[in-house]
Amino acid sequence: MAQIEVRHLTKIFTSKDAKVDALKDISLEIEQGDIYGIIGMSGAGKSTLVRCLNYLEKPTKGAVLVDGKELGAMSEKELLKQRKDIAMIFQHFNLLMQKNVVDNVSFPLLIQGVKKKEARRKAKELLGIVGLEEKEQSYPAQLSGGQKQRVAIARALASDPRILLCDEATSALDPQTTASILDLLKDINQRFGITIVIITHQMSVIRKICSHVAIMAQGEIKEHGLVEEIFSHPKTREARELILKDSDGEHGDHAGRTQDRLMESKKIRIVFSENSSFEPVIANMVLKTGRPVNILRADTKNVGGIAKGEMILGLPDDEKLQREIEDYITERGLEIEEVTGDV
């Protein structure tokens, strides 16, 4: 049984003059111990979706089940208790500005009626885990963004949650701080077996720590599955766009120029999986056929510890030669697909 199960979730926001379908018939399963990424552009509905997982937003239709229990069927009191199991961290940290660090971390424990002394003891222990033990008397205003998020993570862990929801938790942070926060989240996932759901618009976040990913656009899940699967076989336009955007960020502006040339002739995408990207397949193929191919785009990266890559080749116009090249590549165990105008 999946730890989190979302069934046909629909959320409609109605205001005076407009009806917005924030979520349209979303179904999703998240297993215990997963790091599940939900990615999409702003306005895709991902923040609404994550708020339905702890019922901060009540869905218009559909059900959310956590450990088999339906949140919508719970009384207000049961729901408040259930939220102890589902912690959340936020883009803007949302710490109590008038309380010091150790009091912020104790806060969820005090809500649950834990004695103040016991709560503080546990808070100090958690500050050790996030590496902030010497800041316990500081106030949030005296901390950097990364430190604030660490406090928020310590606070989230205080109630021994089984699930941690992260709403754009690294979006307000610089790349180095983002990396260290993601490392911390991965560490927490492995040490405590906490299921983590990450909402983000950054593909790099998904690539770095997620095991699964769902791609959202216009209130729908376009595609979901294992991160390596989606990276190597993006089926939908939305997925391809996000993966492409991700590599643009890393390799500068060359993508714009290749995109023009992508319009030329027949193009194929070659996908490297496992360690095949280190074999000189393309070079050998060119030597064998004696005809050059145009490498329009080449990109490999580390996905979950495995070298993944893709390359887009512009093929010669000769159809016989095209088939020959495609056969050669598939014989080498690589996957190809034809690429149309929009990559």
């Binding site: 936020f90 949302n94 710490l95 109590l96 500005m97 008038q98 309380k99 649950q112």
Partner: protein, 219 residues
């Protein structure tokens, strides 16, 4: 410069003014604070929206706040008599002062609590905090500097109102200013009482601001 009786009278006036101001503010918060909290949370953007409750409180606050204090003072005389037993003197003045202060305080509290970051409230909700916990442990704590500034402003306003009550025998410095300064043309006594009132407001203001800055941990 003044005879000892006049000085004695002024000291008593200061005492009565402080008594009226502080007691009215205290009782005012006793009712105004909950009213302000209810206004905040029952609003449609609040944590427990309740349109009917919000509208009722909203209308009450607006009605009471639009009646001039002097009129309120007179209209409430039967009510004051019922509670205190008489309608003049500083204790009797506390009744209309509280009546005027409650909606004023409720609005001050409402505006302070509205400043609290919605994200922090959402974080508390995500931890399973009840409405009561959010009010006592998040709203009132996060808004405390603004609430203290509100108390300071309220004290100044109530002090001014208490002086107005002097026209109907309310006691305190305002009463002295009207009786001696206005009715008996003793301008020097009037000037002294006004200066004393200014000093009192100044003291309240300074203490309040110092306290709120001291308690603000946002910087």
């Amino acid at each position: 410069m003044f005879s000892s009786e006049v000085i004695q009278m002024l000291i008593q006036g200061i005492g009565e003014t402080l008594y009226m101001t502080l007691a009215s503010t205290l009782f005012g918060y006793l009712f105004g604070l909950p009213m302000g909290i209810l206004l905040t949370i029952s609003d449609k953007e609040g944590i427990k929206p309740n349109w009917v409750l919000y509208k009722v409180l909203d209308v009450i606050a607006n009605i009471v706040r639009s009646v001039p204090f002097l009129i309120l003072l007179i209209v409430l005389i039967p009510f004051t008599r019922m509670i205190v037993g008489k309608s003049y003197g500083s204790t009797a003045t506390i009744v209309p002062l509280v009546a005027a202060a409650v909606p004023y305080i409720a609005r001050m509290v409402e505006s302070s609590l509205r400043e609290v970051d919605a994200g922090v409230i959402e974080a508390a909700r995500s931890m399973g905090a009840s409405t009561f916990t959010i009010v006592t442990k998040v709203l009132l704590v996060e808004a405390r500097t603004s609430l203290i500034v509100g108390v300071t402003i309220t004290l100044g306003t109530i002090l001014g109102y208490s002086a107005m009550a002097g026209t109907v025998g309310g006691g305190g410095l305002g009463d002295i200013a009207i009786r001696y300064g206005y009715h008996r043309y003793e301008a020097d006594i009037m000037v002294v009482t006004v200066v004393l009132l200014i000093l009192l407001v100044q003291i309240f203001q300074t203490i309040g601001m110092k306290l709120s800055v001291h308690l603000d941990k946002r910087k």
